[in-house]
Symmetry: C2
DNA sequence: CAAAAAAGTTACCATAGGGTAATAAAGCAT
DNA sequence: ATGCTTTATTACCCTATGGTAACTTTTTTG
């Protein structure tokens, strides 16, 4: 599958934009490859890019005491960014890291602005932003209404491939617990 | 202060739109009054409105075990909605409640769509959505990197009026703890 | 204003999850 | 492959927070 088809397919569940839009989108991007554990966006720097993950996996992290904890995980065909830095133009605490060998489309802020000036482009970003918010709110509800063990079992059911591909260290911090606690949960039954 | 000035002033920190836009915005809204504890949007219903809080305070809740826990709190001059239901058109678990006597501007989905068709309107909603996402992410970082006690002290510092105006029951659940735990924290020193 | 309801406090014990540390297992590099 | 580094497991004890329950204070409402 070529890149514009991949973009279209990833976005279609939310809004079906014609393939020409995605050709235009892709034409404004750079294609970048990252090795496992390579830093895509360093903590306490500014970043003026949005990204689309073609292959691999990526995590958003912030520092807590003595390690990075994971705010969100992305698998291929997802949009991701350090939205706070991208919006404000200022440095943010977030670090973004490739968790597997990954290929990524990178779109600069100025090209984002260009895209937003077309009606269809504006629509895409609006829907993307709304969706990001909705996902974050769902994540909050999971956090506030379920135990770590319930969140683990939920994740196991809904995205089992994450458990195969991402190290438990990251999954544990994503679930809001230590690797020891995750081990304890996994031991019970699996 | 009249309504359009109030709208403009609330939004200006993010993007300075001309007052005419806000007149147009206000003209598409209904003004509604709620009593303390009145339900603005009931859990497990759909809601096709966005809201702007002129006076009072409002909370977003979801059910957990035997009570409603608070996902977010709003004071006057904030936009709020059940975004998930508003986006999807479908029922959602969220309940929205006036926590004090409140006055609210209510904007229907169809009028939101109308506004979004103007370039300036599209801009406003885009910025609003981005901002909502950024706030939610900040809230997540607070949750994942700080203890309940730290979150309480932080809230005390950043929005002390909340502690005066909102019942501890709601503040406790907003902080992710029980009222007993909040009492214990408050006892320490205050 | 008085009675009733709701909210807040305190104490008790229970439990999920954290911190340290030792060990085992897996992944990576020469 | 062989060692070196990182990750995962397990055990130990510790702490923050939860649940129940009794009591007090505040708020609501007839």
């Amino acid at each position: 599958m070529n890149i514009e088809e991949q973009l279209k397919k990833a976005f279609d569940p939310y809004f079906e934009a014609p393939i020409e839009i995605w050709k235009h989108f892709a034409s404004l991007c750079e294609l970048i490859y990252y090795k496992k554990n390579e830093i895509i966006k360093e903590a306490h720097r500014a970043d003026r890019y949005g990204y689309f993950l073609l292959e691999g996996s990526v995590g958003q992290f912030v520092w807590k005491e003595n390690n990075f904890i994971c705010l969100d995980l992305f698998l291929e065909n997802s949009f991701f960014a350090d939205d706070i830095s991208l919006m404000s133009g200022k440095p943010s605490a977030m670090q973004i890291v490739a968790l597997e060998k990954s290929s990524v489309l990178r779109l600069s802020r100025s090209n984002i602005e260009k895209l937003k000036q077309t009606p269809m482009g504006a629509m895409l970003f609006m829907i993307g932003d709304q969706n990001a918010y909705a996902e974050k709110q769902k994540q909050q509800i999971e956090f506030m209404t379920k135990t770590a063990e319930e969140r683990y079992r939920e994740l196991m059911k809904s995205k089992p491939e994450i458990l195969q591909r991402i190290s438990q260290k990251h999954i544990a911090s994503y679930l809001g617990i230590t690797t020891q606690s995750l081990s304890r949960i996994r031991r019970k039954k699996d």
